[in-house]
Amino acid sequence: MIKLFKVKEKQREIAENANGKAPVKKQSAGELRLHKDISELNLPKTCSISFPNGKDDLMNFEVTIRPDEGYYLGGTFLFSFQVSPIYPHEAPKVKCKTKVYHPNIDLEGNVCLNILREDWKPVLNINTIIYGLFHLFTQPNYEDPLNHDAAAVLRDNPKLFESNVRRAMAGGYVGQTFFTRCM
């Protein structure tokens, strides 16, 4: 291709500074795929999405879940999503911003959901993740504990677990840990 390089170099010398084409913002392939995911979102009534940085930043968004059944009925839980430029090759980073007494969510907001880590596949999408998060509230499970204590209580004494969840959501202490009201 050297002949081509030579021609181009000659052209470049002539055209030096001639075309002041403005630098263009590029959309990564990940951003485009996310655009597709978002424009096809089909959320249950219990979930809503918002974009803190406005309509042109889809890579950072928040999802609010208001469970309509189960232990967490009446609570409002906020999750932040951070999506990488190589999405969907890599799963989004998801954190729970609401402090919650939950066997599968720790007090720092880390979430144990298989499709966010070991079982993520590029065919999955944002909708699947939101449904997965929703199910954590209707079906918390003690087999994948991140909050060890909450998991043990759920396993051994579901009644106590229920009252702990209510107390945490209403704003109060469970053991040594204080939870702010989220109802």
Binding site: M1, K6, E40, F51, I86, E118, P122
Partner: protein, 448 residues
């Protein structure tokens, strides 16, 4: 005649460049002119000055390239010295790009290497446009994906969807992991681009968080526990920085405690670095093999002295040695290197009218389209919050929404109704506005 050529210090190279042959590339014209042009006009950018980058710079300089530049954002660490052979103990802490460029220029006379100590995203598109070939010595998928998008953004297609050779920016990509490696040639529009075949890179193994929290079984589990869970617990709000040695030491110490608690062996500082930064141990000789292949492909692309690798070489030195070349195919609908669907419009067409037209367009047949243009979401069908924010655009001319550029790339998402089947799709469009000065040819392709 070849024999009449003046003596050259690159005697061996002359055998390739000055004589005709049967196995040469399609446009090969041997002679002194070729050798001189190669030195004068071929400009190669080396991305990365680590294990592969050091080898690439040295190999390219010794292959007769005179105009090289190298870009790398890292500084030299002690642990680099075993394989990044251009660096010495006294260089620790200095920018890799600068030291690498200096060392190669000291050793190979006549070569000029310009170093760039910065992130690849810090350079504008004009910077990359200057190079004829980009050689990649990287260890991250993100960085490859970025450079690939940049290189493909120069590609233009003619009105028959044929890529225009003068707009192609070839890349040569190398990568190694321990005893394994790959070398590939990417000619945008001709061979598959990085995005066409991103599935070749296996996703990073991620351990379940609950395993880390409850039932660690190996040293890596202990390290990831300290890195992903314990760090947040102790440093609420402070982000972990993998390049901060204090942070790394903290994670290492916590991982050791965790390992003791569970009776697990094998947590070391270098393993901690490896797990946290997702580094697979690099082997100098694998880097040398892969880099040599990449440097030769670069020479072949530039000179045409031989046909290029077509198009993906894998090298596997685990338990014996196996190497093979696979010819992967392009994804014709690739959002990054594909031509996209050509659409001609009047400047008066509103966004709403445009969306309606997509439904009728024979190559698209797309209903309920959402439209995005260079990071601006012009219209979103869902979710309701975004639909509301973008609805007012529907009555505006698309030409205005695209900043009155005569031709550019748009992306659309929607439901494709083909053969009575509905599927969801994401498509690239080449939009051209009719009757605008300066557009004589329907030839815009652009990148992602």
């Amino acid at each position: 005649m070849a024999d009449a050529a003046p003596p050259s210090k690159s005697r061996d190279l002359d055998k390739l460049l000055l004589r005709p042959g049967n196995l040469v590339g399609p446009s090969f014209e041997p002679g002194v002119q070729l050798r001189d042009d190669l030195q004068e006009y071929a400009k190669v950018l080396v991305v990365g000055a680590g294990g592969l980058g050091c080898e690439l710079l040295k190999d390219l300089a010794l292959s007769g390239f005179k105009n090289l530049e190298v870009i790398d954002m890292d500084r030299i660490e002690v642990t680099n010295l075993n394989r990044q052979f251009l660096f010495r103990l006294e260089d620790v802490g200095k920018p890799k790009a600068e030291v690498a460029a200096k060392r190669v220029m000291e050793r190979v006379s006549g070569v000029n290497i310009v170093p760039h100590f910065c992130r690849i995203e810090d350079k504008d598109i004009e910077f990359y446009s200057d190079f004829n070939i980009i050689a990649l010595g990287l260890d991250s998928i993100e960085a490859r994906s970025y450079i690939n998008a940049v290189a493909c953004s120069f590609l233009e297609y003619d009105s028959d969807d044929n890529p225009r050779e003068e707009t192609m920016k070839p890349m040569v990509d190398g990568g190694t992991e321990g005893f394994k490696g790959h070398a590939r040639v990417i000619v945008p529009g001709v061979t598959p681009c990085f995005e066409c075949t991103i599935w070749l890179f296996p996703p990073q193994v991620k351990f379940p968080l609950c395993t880390l929290a409850e039932t660690p079984r190996n040293a890596a589990h202990c390290i990831e526990y300290a890195h992903l869970i314990k760090w947040d617990e102790v440093h609420s709000g402070k982000a972990f920085d993998p390049d901060n040695p204090d942070h790394m030491k903290w994670v290492y110490d916590e991982a050791v405690k965790r390992a003791e608690l569970f009776g697990i062996q094998g947590v070391t500082y270098s393993l901690t670095q490896g797990v946290v930064k997702n580094i697979i141990p690099a082997i100098a000789s694998t880097n040398a093999i892969i880099s040599a292949a990449c440097a030769l492909e670069t020479l072949k692309i530039a000179s045409g002295c031989s046909k290029t690798l077509s198009n993906y070489l894998t090298y596997n030195g685990v338990e014996g040695l196996h190497t093979k070349v696979t010819e992967f195919v392009k994804d014709k609908d690739c959002l990054v290197c594909g031509p996209g669907v050509l659409v001609e419009l009047d400047t008066t067409v509103t966004l709403q009218k445009f969306i309606d037209m997509l439904e009728e367009h024979p190559k698209l047949l797309m209903s309920k389209a959402s439209i995005t243009y260079r990071g601006k979401n012009l219209y979103m069908q869902a979710p309701p919050v975004l639909e509301e924010m973008t609805r007012s655009n529907l009555s505006l001319p698309l030409y205005d929404l695209m900043d009155k550029v005569p031709k550019d790339i748009l992306h659309v998402t929607g439901t494709i109704n083909k053969d009575n089947k509905k599927s969801s799709g994401l498509r690239k469009l080449r939009v051209i506005f009719k009757g605008i000065d300066g557009v004589t040819d329907m030839d815009m392709a652009g990148g992602a």
